[in-house]
Each structure stands twice: as structure tokens, then as C-alpha cells.
């Protein structure tokens, strides 16, 4: 008996769907590019302008570095405060949003919606809001990053919590444990490595974000960046960008090492 006779035929490709998708994407892109006045010829003509900016920005003005130390430190401090406070507040937010741990459907529903709002609004919005509330400066930045950290950690960690084995939490309940005891001894220890990992990730994001937050007056290196940029001190801008890059890379290396140990 011939085996190949038994093999099913390869189904015909749906060319209409493939071509239709390609056409749709192309049309949408052309329409959008026209809408914002994006044109390749104009881009090519203006490239020398961009390269002039790069040339003017090089070399970085290294002698300016001593005056960056204080703002850089402030940036780190903003990120630390935002990550720690946000990281603590994210714990209840994440637990209540985990379907398997939440004490009630109503709490779960409200918490989910709070999380969605926190996540949908950008960190710049929170920075402006808190700047208006507590005045321009690093405290506004730290508060904005607190909210941002809650949004990041609670979303990621609530999903880790939903994936835990519910056997141990049930055993704690069987021993007469309360909801809190069930969380403390049964649920949270299982998802603790994830929590640490997400908190480190949030810290990295926060150091990066605190550069942007300065643009709206929320303290840190970003405020210096904005001042130097608006006075066309491009070699100083380059130095600032490079400093932040180095800090971010160092933090990434450290947190990567910690995460490897936890795994």
C-alpha cells in the first residue's frame, strides 16, 4: 500500500486574505503618513540639519560632569523612593487583582479597574498632576514614579500570583489559617522570586523615566537636561545622555545578576 496516498493534501493558501491584509496595511500607512505630512524626500533634504546637530553635540563637554553629580544622585533617589513605596503598595493591589486569591468579586472588579486607570495614564501625566499638587521638584517625581511602579508591578505580579499552585494555600486554610495567613505562608512565598524580579525591572524603568519626568519640572537630571537643551548647550546634553546611559547599564547588570541568583 502506498503511504503517500494516505497523507492529507496541503490546504490551498488563502490568497485573498493575504493580499487583502497587505493592501489594507499599505493603504493605512499611506493615509497616516499623508495625514502627518511625512515624506521621504523631505526627510532626505533635512538630514544635513540633523547631522549638524550631531556634529555640534560632539564631543561631550566632560568638564561639565561635576555639576551633574548632584542631579544624577537626585534622579537615583527619586527612582529609589518611587520604587520602594510603589513596590510596597503594589502588593495589596496585585493580590486583590489575582482571581484565585481575591476575597470577593466586587473587590477584584474595582481593583482591576483602578489598575487599568493607573496603567493607561502615562507617567508624564502623573508627574504634572503631582507637580501641581506638591509643587515642582523631586517629590512630585517620586510620587509620579510611585504610581507608575504600582501600575507596572501589580499588573505583572497579579498574573504570577494567578499561576501559583493552590495546594499549599488550601493546606494553610485546612490548618485553620485566615486569609492573611493563607497569603503569607501559602501563596506569596511561591511568587516571591517573580516579585523581586519585577521590582528590579520597575527600578530600571524608573531611572529611565526620571530623565523624562524632569522635562515637566519633576526634579532630577531631566530638569538639567531641559535647561541645557533649551539654551542649545548640545555637548552638555550629550554628556547628560551618556551619564544616564551608563547608570542604566550598570543597574541592568546588577539586577540581572540578582535575578540569575533567584532563578
Amino acid at each position: 500500500m502506498n503511504d503517500s496516498a494516505m497523507r492529507p493534501l496541503r490546504p490551498a493558501r488563502n490568497w485573498a486574505l493575504i493580499l487583502g491584509t497587505l493592501l489594507g496595511v499599505t493603504m493605512m500607512t499611506v493615509w497616516s503618513a499623508r495625514g502627518i505630512g511625512f515624506s521621504l524626500t523631505e526627510l532626505a533634504c533635512n538630514l544635513p540639519g540633523g547631522s549638524r546637530l550631531l556634529v555640534e553635540s560632539w564631543p561631550p563637554e566632560f568638564s561639565y560632569f561635576p555639576r551633574l553629580l548632584a542631579p544624577l544622585l537626585e534622579t537615583l533617589q527619586i527612582a529609589v523612593v518611587g520604587t520602594v513605596i510603589g513596590g510596597i503598595l503594589a502588593v495589596p493591589v496585585a493580590v486583590l487583582a489575582a482571581r484565585n486569591l481575591t476575597p470577593g468579586v466586587l473587590v477584584w472588579f474595582l481593583d482591576r479597574n483602578v489598575m487599568n486607570v493607573l496603567r493607561t495614564l502615562p507617567d508624564l501625566f502623573w508627574a504634572m498632576l503631582f507637580a501641581a499638587a506638591v509643587g515642582f521638584g523631586p517629590v512630585a517625581g517620586a510620587l509620579a514614579l510611585t504610581v507608575f511602579t504600582i501600575a507596572v508591578i501589580s499588573k505583572l505580579w497579579s498574573e504570577s500570583l494567578e499561576a501559583i499552585d493552590m495546594g499549599v494555600p488550601e493546606a494553610v486554610r485546612a490548618a485553620g489559617g485566615s486569609w492573611l495567613a493563607m497569603l503569607q505562608f501559602g501563596a506569596i512565598p511561591q511568587a516571591l522570586p517573580h516579585y523581586v524580579s519585577y521590582a528590579l525591572y520597575a527600578f530600571e524603568l524608573n531611572v529611565r523615566a526620571s530623565m523624562i519626568l524632569g522635562l515637566v519640572g519633576a526634579g532630577g537630571i531631566g530638569m538639567v537636561l531641559e535647561t541645557q537643551r533649551s539654551t542649545f548647550e548640545y555637548p552638555r546634553v550629550t554628556l547628560i545622555v551618556l551619564s544616564v546611559l551608563v547608570i542604566v547599564l550598570v543597574i541592568e547588570q546588577i539586577s540581572e545578576a540578582i535575578r540569575r541568583r533567584l532563578a
Binding site: 495546594g167 499549599v168 488550601e170 493546606a171 494553610v172 486554610r173 485546612a174 490548618a175 485553620g176 489559617g177 485566615s178 492573611l180 495567613a181 503569607q184 505562608f185 501559602g186 512565598p189 511561591q190 516571591l192
Partner: protein, 263 residues
Amino acid sequence: MTSRPAIRFQDARVVYPNGAVGLAGIDLSIEPGEFVVVVGSSGAGKSTLLRAVNGLTPLTSGSVEVQGQVVPRKEGSELRRLRAQVGMIFQDFRITRRLSVMTNVLVGRVAHVPGWRAMFNLWPEADREVAFRALERVGMTEKAWVRAGDLSGGQQQRVGIARALAQEPAIILADEPVASLDPVTTHQIMRDLVRINQELGITTLVNLHFLDLARRYGRRIVGLRAGELVYDGSADSVTQADFRHIYGRDPDAGDLLDEDAAP
């Protein structure tokens, strides 16, 4: 009978949301200090019977009493107080692998200490003493500060037993306690359970799949089939015909732990 039963089922029924019948009207009385083995094929309702005792699976109708007190069907402080008197041992151990053996055993004390003490690991000296004595009883004292996940399967189950003992319970429920262990460890764990029953007089209810284990370690054997009580008698007098009745078929080698021994 002068003393009240340790456990009493009266027309106990459990119907799961998917329509499956867990218990189909069980009447059963277990006296203080008894060592009862529950047998039956999988799906016969063995786990449901045990889980009804501490309310992990609430009854649909009828009642279960533990030491004269009706097991509440809703979570709450009343059910937690009742669970404090009932230790449970699981097939998959259900200990927190990331925590120390000691912390896992102290979970058996959660219903006995104020929540804030458990939360900050400030266990009263008396409760630590109870936990140590529980570990001594299963010969695991020297492992007290080892990470529970680093232990062998048999040792992890001993931690599970110590956690149940730390509750200073009136009743121990063991749901297939040896199903994930090798034959040698199986006999050790079964001997531990019998010894604890004899030394401390704790009423013990054990689900077992293997017939030879049931006959060897059980004093009284209860047989379930499709949620109904189909056998209740002494382990010495149980016959091949009784097992045939419980299982609805002839017992074969798969129903024995030691496959060489005749049923």
C-alpha cells in the same frame, strides 16, 4: 455508646457544580481514637469524605459533626476554629518549599496565635516548643532550619505530618498520604501514622488506594463506591469478596503495593 463520636456523618451528600456526585448520602460514625482506612476506586468519593470533615468541600445536604459540633458550610471564624482541631495530610505534601521546615510546621499553629505574631514571625515560645515536639515525633528535629524544598519526598511528608501534629489536633485526615512515595518510604510513613494514633490517641482517617496497605495498617476499613458506603468492618475480617464489592471488579496487581503478595 457513652462518649460522643469524633466524627459523625448524617445523610451527608455532596453534589459538585458539574453535577458529579461526591457523596450520595453517607451515614458514618467514628469514635475517638479510631484508626480508619477508607478504600475505593478513584472517583468513589474518598477525598470528598475527608474534605467534608474540615469543610474544604462543603456538604450539599445532610450534616457532618466534629466532636459534636456541626461543620459550618461557609468560610469564617467558626469554621477556622473547627479546622484548628483537625490536621490534614496531603498526597502532594503541600508544604512551602521556599520556607524552612520550622516555618512550615509553625503553620500548624496559625489558628492558635494572634495574626500579627504570625505575620512578623514572632511566634510565642510555647508554640515554637509545640512545633519542635511535633518534629521530634517524626524524627526530623535536626532538619528544623533546612529549606523544606531541599528534603526528599518522604521527609517532606514528615514535615506535612509534623505540621498536622503542631495543631495538637483531635483528628488527623490523611488524603492518600503515600501515593507519591516509594514502597519503603510508604511503609515508614504508614507506621508513623499508626504510631501517632496509638501514642497520642488522635482519631485518624486515612484514604488509601492499595488494598494490602489498607488491610495491613487499618483497624477498621470503610469502603466507598460511587459516593455510597458499601463496606464498614474490621480490617481482620475483610475478604476478597468485600473488595470485589467495593471496587465493582476483581482486585488485580495494580491494587497492591507489593505486587508479589497475593491479595
